[in-house]
Every structure is written in C-alpha cells, then in structure tokens.
Point group: C2
Chain length 112, copies 2
C-alpha cells in the first residue's frame, strides 16, 4: 500500500521544486556513482571492469546504479554481440560535464 502523501516523498518533491541542486545531488549521490563515472571516463567501461576496480560493490547495486546513471542521461551503453556478450558504457556530454564539478568537490573537501 503506497501512501501518496508520505512526508518523505512530499518533502523530496518540495525540495526538487524549490531548488535544482537537490535534483543534481540525487543523480550523483548514489554511493558508487562518482567513482563509476570517473572509471568509465578512464576506460573501465564494462560491468566486469568496474567490479575489478570496485571489488566490494554488490552486483545488484552496480547494476542498478548503471541503470540509474543511464536513465539520468549521464552514461550510454553499447551492446556488442561478441561471445560472451559484451556491453560497453560511455559518458554522455552531460556525464562528461559533471567531471570538473566532481574535481572541484574533491578540492573543496580538503579545505580546512
């Protein structure tokens, strides 16, 4: 049973309506997403390659975060009919555009 009026969902919508920052933060705040974007940019652009560099992420979370990044337009995917199937991910323009902001965040974090 879904409560349409749960405060939680209501508050999320409220925040989206008053400020776009919340939308932006939601698309990149998934625990592994920032690192996934960076790795994809550097050529670790497949499910199994990402698992190598993020060894402790669970399959399910990795799969879901890939789907979400795709749905939010930060990455695209190409299915290559090799054997076994191979799927390559790449950053879209929007995905590429977030990288300098992530850098800025990292630098900011070192401030005193």
């Amino acid at each position: 049973m879904i409560k349409e009026t749960s405060s939680n969902a209501f508050n999320r919508k409220f925040l989206h309506s008053v400020c776009r920052i919340n939308g932006a933060l939601e698309t990149i705040a998934g625990r592994w997403k920032a690192l996934m974007l960076i790795h994809i940019a550097e050529g670790k652009n497949r499910f199994s390659l990402l698992k190598q560099v993020l060894p402790t992420v669970s399959d399910q979370v990795l799969g879901r975060q890939l789907r979400e990044l795709e749905a939010d337009g930060l990455i695209g995917k190409t299915v290559i009919a090799e054997v076994p199937v191979r799927v390559d991910y790449h950053l879209t323009d929007k995905g590429t555009a977030i990288l300098p902001i992530l850098d800025a965040l990292a630098e900011w974090h070192d401030k005193r």
Copy 2:
C-alpha cells in the same frame, strides 16, 4: 550489537580512502543541507527562521543536520543570551566556498 565489519560500513571507508569526492558528497548530501546553507548565507540563520523557509522539515532532522554541518566545519554558531535564548548560525570559509559549487551543480542539472 555493532558489526565492525559490515560491508556497508566497510564500503563507506573504502570509498573515502580511494576518493575524496565521496567525503565531500556525504557532507552535503543530507536532504536539506544544500538549501540550509543557501538560506543561512541569505540571513535565515536561526532554527526558527529555517523552519519558516523549510516548513516541512522535522525538528529532529533540522537539529541533526545543523549539528552535522557544524561538525563538518561548514557552519558556526553563536549563542546569544537573550530571552528566550537565541542562536545565530553563520557560514565558515569552508561553507562559503561550497556555494559556487552548488551553483555549478544546479546549472549542470539543467543540461540536456
């Protein structure tokens, strides 16, 4: 009973160790924090003023996020012995430095 080795906590530490972005995101990803920072910058710098502009936030969450922002060095507080007691918040240098990054995020979010 606390599991020191829960994957959840382990993964968080792992991410912090490999990339500062995750630390930065954690400090600002609380649902209300970005907006709180902006309002404090604009003079809505007290508990009750923040409640006015964020009417649906709960007292507990507002209080906790203020504590966290303070612990992370983004805001400072001044207790003024009026009656009733009054507490003013202000952005630190670090808190001020995040504002342009938040703006950049908002702009980025509008990209196609």
